[in-house]
């Protein structure tokens, strides 16, 4: 299908919106009526047609506007994109992975023509048509990682693998859930995860690291993570907390349905061939509560998950103060009926709200 790109903003007037198509394919993250951290990894080898899991790098209606927002963030704060000197090869690996994937998965939007190391890249939605020499940095306007991630939705952490450990040695991070690349750069897997509650005690990070160290070329993996965001903001960074933190206090019973967003990250993991580094794309999807409530199953389930979430998690995810107001709103959509297993909305089979 051809994608109709939205003209929208993720700041100031927040004109961001989801079409019916986008709501239906929203990666609702709860497969049951409760939630706890787990080593929830699975293979990233496609998924149902039209779902966000189908392609290696999902492109949707927000693409063009998200890239415009990224350019604005970078103009204000260039440190959102960093790459330590030994990570340049990994940057080329990433550029190749994305260009090959997108041109194969979306041939009507992206083209890659290769003649030895002479490459031509055509990105139709962004109006780009560049010719360059693969592995020669002087032929691109930015470093390879920055060049390609200015054209790809989602944040990117590029991890060097040494001594059975992953190191955050490069990244493009402008749509993050309250963490900072500038702070985490050079840290290892346990160091950057230090602020996360409960998961260390449960041994989750030890097992997750073993899994990641073993991710092989040609066998990518994925998992979901989620949090809450007031207003459809992509850039919820510590650097800009003074701007968005205060917006959490603007929630009222009247505006919560449109202002409060469930923020879901589709996280994927790919081994990079030339550098043996690992890339961790973190793709952010936003959906307002009122749009989520159009799916009866999601309405029932979201209420139960938010209600029963441990205090530590609600605090870490930054919505403990607003939880009572959220529950007042969400409880209207929970009639106590059972929900079907799995993440899908099951519109045809789940009964409408009985209230």
């Amino acid at each position: 299908m051809t994608i109709q790109f939205n003209d929208e903003t993720f700041r100031d007037d927040y004109s961001f919106y989801n079409s019916d198509w986008a709501i239906k394919r929203f990666p609702f993250p709860f497969h049951e009526d409760s939630y706890m951290y787990a080593v929830n990894m699975e293979q990233h080898r496609g998924g149902p047609e039209g779902s966000v899991y189908e392609k290696r790098f999902d492109v949707d209606e927000h693409y063009v506007s998200e890239m415009r927002d990224r350019a604005m963030v970078l103009a204000d704060d260039p440190l959102r994109c960093q790459s330590l000197p030994h990570m340049t090869l990994a940057g080329w690996d990433l550029l190749e992975l994305i260009m090959v994937s997108k041109s194969e998965d979306y041939p009507d939007l992206f083209e890659l023509h290769r003649d030895g190391n002479q490459w031509r890249w055509v990105n139709k939605p962004l109006g780009i048509d560049d010719t360059f020499t693969f592995l020669d940095e002087t032929t691109l306007p930015y470093g390879p990682m920055e060049y390609i991630t200015r054209q790809t939705q989602g944040d990117f952490c590029v991890l060097d693998q040494r001594d059975d450990m992953l190191w955050m040695d490069a990244g493009m991070v402008t749509t993050q859930a309250d963490w900072s690349l500038d702070f985490d750069i050079g840290m290892n897997f346990f160091e950057w995860h230090a602020p996360v509650p409960l998961a260390h005690e449960k041994g989750i990070f030890k097992r997750a690291l073993k899994f990641l160290l073993n991710i092989q070329q040609g066998a990518p993996a994925r998992r979901l993570n989620w949090t809450m965001t007031v207003n459809p903001l992509l850039d919820t960074s510590p650097e800009n907390y003074h701007i968005w933190g205060i917006q959490k206090t603007t929630l009222t019973p009247e505006n919560i349905g449109s202002k409060q967003h469930l923020r879901v990250e589709l996280q994927t993991f790919f081994r990079l061939p030339r550098s043996n580094a690992l890339v961790f794309p973190i793709r952010c999807y936003l959906c307002s509560f009122q749009d989520l409530m159009t799916m009866p199953k999601w309405g029932r389930r979201l209420h139960r998950v938010v209600r029963d979430l441990p205090v530590e998690l609600a605090t870490y995810k930054g919505f403990i103060d607003n939880r009572p107001m959220m529950l007042d709103y969400l409880s209207q959509f929970d009639d106590g009926l059972p929900t079907s297993p799995g993440v899908w909305p099951d519109q045809e089979t789940e009964p409408p709200l009985q209230k």
Binding site: E42, P85, A219, R222
Partner: protein, 327 residues
Amino acid sequence: MSAAPQKAKPGGQQIPVVVSAVVPLNDLVTRFEFQCRDGGAFPPFSGGAHTVVEMKDGDLTRLNPYSLMSDPADSSTYAISVRREDGGRGGSLFMHQRVKQGDEMMISYPVNLFSLDLRAKKHIFFAGGIGITPFMAMIAQLERSNGNWELHYACRTESLGTYVDVLSYKYPNKVHIYYDDQNQAIPLEDLLDGQPLGTNAYVCGPKGMIDWVHAAASAAGWPDAQVHSEEFLKPEPGREFEVRLCKSGKTITVGENESLLEAIERAGVEAPFLCRGGACGQCETDVVKADGEFVHRDHWLDDDQHASGEKIMPCVSRFLGTLELDR
């Protein structure tokens, strides 16, 4: 998550290949070159990576890891060099005696457990015998990026000096050869002394050599993280033992000449693996009950885990007695 659950194939993705050349190099070592069966390009790889070659030997499927030794920038061909082990379990003999140009085989995607530290200002390589193979690819990779490296390569005799000729010809100032039968030895202590800060050392060869380099580097004050080694263990023969596989409800006997992993696979039970050499951790299996003595041989579990008796790496480790596994 349960978006579209799929089971990982044990051993990871495979590539269908055709043997494009078989090149004997000396009395013991032969090079095998592969091309993609569909005529396409191989995935790029990083120096130090290996591939697991699947050999169909009658009813038996052998899976042996070999370092990729071709130039990582050449996506048309992968090459491995195999030393014939007359007393081994038969994988290398199969390659030498049965594999011919034009044969179709399956090999795994590249896996790297021995990669270059790309931060290093200088790389110093120590190779012993067939341990030269991963360095062939690393050298090609570093030459392309103007990396700073040198190689110290110990061989038994001149006639068994695999790739000595090409290496010495192409890089006369960087390659140093030592022949055992001429009583030449790598001057390890001197070499480790006085390297520029940020040098990384890599060793691949017999176990004795690996231990020697680690010990000498440590004595010379090198940080462990700057000394890298790769040793593929081979499953060793041992006494026959019996294993109960709880999940699949089967009882199997592990023969003298097969590994526990091979016996599990022979029983038709799927078990994860990657390197089949005790290094990657993929085959880690929970022990339910153990009546007897473990023979742990892997590099993956730590000493405490070995002592606990709760885990075993079936690709290389064995048991004396009877064992019950969560598989």
